[in-house]
């Protein structure tokens, strides 16, 4: 891959997505070995720079880097505590002075990963920036669908919930549409404002209709605090219109799969019956996450497989 950074899916070409997914396939096997380690990134230093709480993504990147034999350093902080003292730029420049090769950043402000590339010389991987993008999540979603369906083109992918505030939705929309899937987004209009028509998607505020013949359903986490913003009146009403239940799932294709970037709000966007059913591939997404992140790290740092 020619790129030095992975900041989002929007600016990736289809071939680059294919290359990452192809590389990921070869890394799945490594995690199944008794000794789960290859020397691809031996001697490289990778920093996990997390300004937002995260268990899944941070651990996934850490495991991915370690399985490639990179040295990993974790730096976690809340934005508020950093804000009081050092600027983000100074924090990163100080870390870089220790000769890092790649920085993985999670930050609550959109554009934070891009901002890093304006002054630092390490490769930068966006692990989620504000409501902008979360590219490795989309890649692992693509990988999961690819394994289950054998293809990405010609599928109907429905993304449901708080699209407005979701970086996962933005990355997924770009990934699946670039790969030839039809993407439908559904949720209350307050969380899918009209200008979202600019995205390569269809919008259907009626979830029951949106689910017809779907191959893939991606449910997004709903933050209850959105009620205060006037986005919806009550969890009860949200559940009634937008929760994925076994009854609603009947409208999809019989072999449709259900995904969720986690953490799940059981009983809000997803009923436990669906979350725990055979249709749910949520844990497989987590598994693919490690392989996809191994692929991204090795491609960006130019390691040999």
């Amino acid at each position: 891959m020619e790129k030095k950074h992975l900041l989002g899916i929007e600016n990736l070409k289809k071939e680059e997505i294919e290359e990452i997914l192809e590389t990921s396939k070869s890394f799945i096997e490594i995690s199944k070995r008794p000794i789960k380690k290859v020397p691809v990134l031996r001697g490289k230093t990778v920093v996990n720079l997390f300004f937002e709480p995260s268990t899944r993504t941070r651990s996934s990147f850490e495991i991915a880097a370690k399985r490639l034999s990179a040295d990993v350093m974790n730096f976690s902080s809340s934005v508020s505590s950093v804000r009081k003292g050092e600027s983000l730029k100074d924090t990163v420049l100080n870390l870089e002075a220790m000769k890092t090769d790649l920085i993985i950043i999670r930050h609550s402000f959109s554009g934070a990963a891009k901002f890093l590339t304006t002054f630092c010389s390490s490769s930068v991987v966006n692990a989620g920036d504000g409501t902008h993008e979360h590219p490795t999540q989309a890649l692992l979603d693509g990988m999961t669908v690819l394994e289950k369906k054998g293809r990405l083109d010609g599928l109907k992918v429905v993304i449901v919930g708080d699209i407005l505030h979701s970086r996962v939705a933005r990355s997924d929309i770009f990934l699946f549409s670039k790969m030839g899937s039809k993407v439908v987004i559904s949720g209350p209009p307050t969380l899918i404002p009209g200008y979202f028509r600019g995205f390569p998607v269809e919008i259907d505020y009626n979830l029951d209709r949106a689910l017809e013949n779907a191959d893939v359903v991606i449910m997004l986490r709903l933050q209850k605090e959105r009620m205060q913003g006037g986005f919806f009146p009550s969890v009860r009403e949200y559940r009634q219109k937008y929760q994925l239940t076994p009854e609603r799932l009947i409208r999809t294709k019989p072999d449709a799969i259900v995904m969720h970037p986690g953490p799940i709000n059981r009983g809000i966007e997803l009923s436990s019956d669906v979350a725990d059913s055979g249709r749910s591939v949520i844990l497989e997404q987590v598994e693919k996450g490690v392989a996809v992140r191994m692929a991204v790290l090795s491609l960006l740092l130019g390691g040999e497989r």
Partner: protein, 425 residues
């Protein structure tokens, strides 16, 4: 000192002057305007192929004194103004503390007198710019405040706005309205649209401006007061103003150079030098603003010169302060992108940057070049090519969205009261 400006094209629409004349400046006044003037002991400038216009006025600037002199003070701001061709500026009151009482107005006036240009203070409309109680506007006017505004914190309470506008009639004063419904724009950092949704930036929809303008012009119409809408950014707002003007409301408005030539697509780099309020809007909005400039709907071009230090701007987009500087780029940007491209005439340029600001703020002696009037003159070299380089700015700040732009047309001589405030030939 006597100055003789020879062979320039004098453009002063207010008194119908447009032609090649010599201008003799003596004792701070324009002594003579004639086809050929001879003067032995004058300092002579040959202005062949140059354009001589009434001194330019920027009626919307922020000099950060008192409070943030590290970003700009009155002295550095005035230097930037003179370098950009401006003989006068109106300085907004959002300093720390704000200019909200007569003593602070006097401070700005006194500081301004120590510079080479005119610095006219704008006083706060409410105490502390808090939108709760009226500030002592009449006493501030007596100390030299030329207009009133809470700028970035517009008066949200309609009753207080009504009272303030009525009260201002004592001095026939004008309210400068940064019109924004801050509830609709809460937390926003960029225009609300698909382009910014893609970038994950929280939106400021055009309704936050247009709805606020609609309300405020109705209130001003009701009280028969003078209201000036600052930095119009959207096509819909123009519609509101057009209708209000058609009804006979006493409303005027301004637009910034950056809203005229930039749009939201520049945000794709998350460069905070494109973060300002109101935000850069769509390409269609930009076109509409240019149209309204040539049609005459827009009265004024003002820079909204908003200096911020590099440290304050070099942060994540969400937390960077709003605002860009403009005093040293307004003339080149407007000349190259609008005058040179025939979107507006030279006369219109003079109206937008001198005649109308002088009229709106009631500034005596500004806005025209005439015999026996004060010598406030700007000379523009329409062929001068510049490359914007913020390192060379007289301003203390560097936050320009035009860095590296190659532009044709710049101020080369700024004369204030017959004195050379800036020259560069």
């Amino acid at each position: 000192m006597r100055i003789l400006l020879k062979n320039g094209r004098i453009v002063s629409p207010l008194n119908g002057l447009d032609g090649i004349f010599d201008v003799l400046v003596e004792n701070g006044k324009i002594k003579q305007i004639a086809k050929r003037i001879n003067c032995e002991d004058c300092k002579i400038y040959d202005l062949t192929r140059m354009i001589v216009v009434p001194g330019l006025i920027d009626m919307h600037v922020h000099f950060r004194e008192p409070g943030r002199e590290d970003a700009e003070d009155i002295e550095s701001g005035a230097k930037a103004a003179a370098k950009g061709g401006f003989v006068a500026v109106a300085m907004m009151p959002n300093t720390e503390p704000p200019v909200d009482d007569p003593l602070r107005v006097r401070f700005v006036v006194e500081k301004g007198k120590m510079t080479d240009i005119y610095v006219f203070p704008v006083g706060s409309f409410t105490k502390g710019r808090q939108g709760k109680e009226l500030a002592e506007m009449v006493m501030m006017a007596e100390e030299g405040a030329v207009a009133f505004s809470d700028d970035g914190f517009p008066v949200s309470d309609p009753l207080l706005l009504r009272r303030g506008l009525e009260y201002l009639k004592i001095i026939d004063g004008i309210y400068l309205d940064h019109a924004e419904d801050r509830s609709l724009s809460m937390g926003g950092v960029a225009n609300e649209s698909y382009i910014t949704a893609k970038l994950g930036l929280k939106g400021i929809p055009w309704i936050s401006e247009a709805a606020a303008v609609a309300r405020d012009v109705y209130i001003a119409e009701f009280t028969k007061s003078k209201i000036h809408i600052q930095h119009v950014s959207s096509a819909k707002t123009l519609e509101v103003i057009e209708q209000a003007k058609a009804r006979g409301a006493n409303v005027t408005c301004e637009v910034t150079p950056h809203h005229l030539v930039l749009d939201e697509t520049h945000l794709e780099t998350y460069d905070t030098n494109f973060k300002m309020n109101p935000p850069l809007r769509s390409a269609e909005d930009k076109e509409a603003l240019q149209e309204a400039l040539s049609s005459g709907l827009i009265d004024v071009i003002a820079s909204d010169h908003a200096p911020h230090t590099r440290d304050d701007k070099e942060v994540e987009f969400d937390v960077a302060p709003f605002g860009v500087i403009g005093l040293e780029t307004t003339v080149p940007v407007i000349w190259d992108k609008l005058v040179e491209k025939k979107k507006i005439t030279v006369e219109r340029f003079v109206e937008l940057l001198s005649v109308n600001p002088a009229r709106i703020l009631g500034l005596e002696g500004f806005g025209k070049i005439e015999k026996d009037g004060p010598a406030h003159i700007t000379v523009i070299d329409p062929k001068k090519e510049i490359t914007v380089n913020s390192e060379e700015f007289a301003s203390k700040s560097r936050n320009t969205p035009f860095e590296g732009w190659k532009l044709k047309g710049a101020a080369v001589l700024t004369i204030v009261n017959g004195k050379i405030a800036f020259e560069s030939f």
